[in-house]
Amino acid sequence: MFLNVQLPWNVIIPAENLDAKGLMLQRSIIIRLLDEFASKKATKELGYYFALTTLDSIGEGKVRQHTGDILFPVVFHGITFNLFRGEIIEGVVHKVLKHGVFLRCGPMEHIYLSSTKMPDYRYVPGENPVFLNEKLSKIGKDVVVRVIVLATMWLEVEREFRALVSLEGDFLGPVSSF
C-alpha cells in the first residue's frame, strides 16, 4: 500500500555549488534532495520511493572540516509503496509458467503466485498458456488478480522486493475491471 513517510535526511552541498547568491542555495538543496531520493529507489523498511511531496524544514548548515562541503539536515515528506504480509493487492499477470504465474503490481515485477496456492486451477498449456478452474475462470496474461501477500523478500543487491502471494481465501482470484 502507499505510505506517506516523514524522513530526516542530510543533504550535502559541495562547495562548488555554493553561490554568492543566497537564493540559489535552497534550490540546490532541493535538487540534491531529489537527486538522492531518485537514486535511492527503494529501502527495506519503506519500500519503493515514489515522490517527494513537501519539504518541511531545512536545518542549519554545518561546514564539514576537510572538504568544505556544507551539510544540511532536512526533513521532508514523501510517498513510498510497500507490500506487507497479509495485505490484499491486485496484480496484473505478465508471465505464465507451468508452476505458477508472475504478477506485476505497481513498481514490483516479481510477485510470484504458485500453482499450489491456486486451489482448483489447473495449467492449460498452449500458445497462450493459462490457468483454468472448473468455473472456467481464467488466469492468464494481462488478467487482474486479487491476491493476498504471504511473504516479501528484500534483495539488497538489486534494491528491490520480491513477493509471494496466494489465492487461498475468500473473494480472491481474477477480478473483472469495471
Partner: protein, 206 residues
C-alpha cells in the same frame, strides 16, 4: 538439494537471501543463526538440519518457495531452504498486522490519496522536466499507473473522507452530513449501517 548445518549458506538456487518477514514468536525452535525474533530487520539465513527439523511454529510460518522448485508443494518437503509449516495443524488465516511492521515515521494512505498527490506531481512534470538537474524516481510512472487503476474506484473521495473523519454513529447522521448521498438513500441504508458498525469497532480498538 544439499542440507546444511552450521554456517554454510542454505541459499536457494538463485542465490537469494531470504529475509522472511514472519510474525511467529517461536522462541528458539529454529536452529543456527535464527534467533526467533519476530522483527529482525537484517536478512536472516534460515537454516535447518533437514533430518531433525520439526519447527513448532505457531502456524504462521509460511513456506517460501525458491522459484524453480514448486513441484512438491512445500509441505514436508526436503529442501533445506524452505521453512516448513507444521503439518499437524492447519495454519490460521493470514491477518494483516501492518501496525507492527510499519516504521515509526510512516503512515498508510489510501490509494485515492496517493493518486491525487502523484497526479499533482505529474501535472507539473512538464515544467519539472525542463530543468535537467531535477530527477524523478524511476518507479514514479509505475506507481502512478497503479494508483490510477486502484484509486479511481472512489470518485467521491471527499465524501469518504468526511465520513471517516467525523465517525458518525448512525446512517442518518451520514445523510445529514453528506447531503450528496441523499439521492441514493434507499440503496445505501443497509450497507451504510454495516460499514458504520465496522468503523465503530475499529474506533474502539484504536
Amino acid at each position: 538439494m544439499s542440507d546444511k548445518g552450521g554456517k554454510g549458506s542454505s541459499l536457494p538456487p538463485k542465490g537469494i537471501k531470504s529475509s522472511l518477514k514472519s510474525t511467529t514468536s517461536n522462541g528458539g525452535s529454529f536452529k543456527g543463526k535464527e534467533d526467533g525474533s519476530t522483527k529482525s530487520k537484517k536478512g536472516r539465513k534460515v537454516q535447518f538440519d533437514s533430518d531433525k527439523v520439526s519447527p513448532k511454529s505457531s502456524g504462521k510460518t509460511e513456506s517460501l518457495f525458491s522459484k524453480g522448485n514448486t513441484g512438491k508443494g512445500g509441505k514436508g518437503d526436503n529442501t533445506a531452504s524452505t521453512v516448513k509449516k507444521s503439518p499437524s495443524k492447519p495454519p490460521p488465516p493470514l491477518e494483516l498486522k501492518v501496525e507492527q511492521e510499519l516504521p515509526k515515521n510512516a503512515k498508510c494512505i489510501m490509494d485515492a490519496e496517493a493518486l491525487q498527490i502523484l497526479q499533482g506531481i505529474q501535472d507539473q512534470m512538464v515544467i519539472l522536466s525542463e530543468d535537467p538537474s531535477i530527477k524523478i524516481p524511476a518507479s514514479f510512472d509505475r506507481g502512478l499507473q497503479y494508483a490510477k487503476t486502484t484509486g479511481n474506484r472512489y470518485t467521491d473521495y471527499q465524501s469518504i473522507c468526511v465520513i471517516a473523519n467525523v465517525g458518525p454513529e448512525t446512517a442518518d447522521e451520514v445523510f445529514a452530513l453528506v447531503p450528496s448521498l441523499k439521492g441514493k438513500k434507499e440503496k445505501l441504508m443497509e450497507p451504510l449501517k454495516g460499514v458504520l458498525d465496522e468503523l465503530a469497532k475499529l474506533k474502539q480498538l484504536a
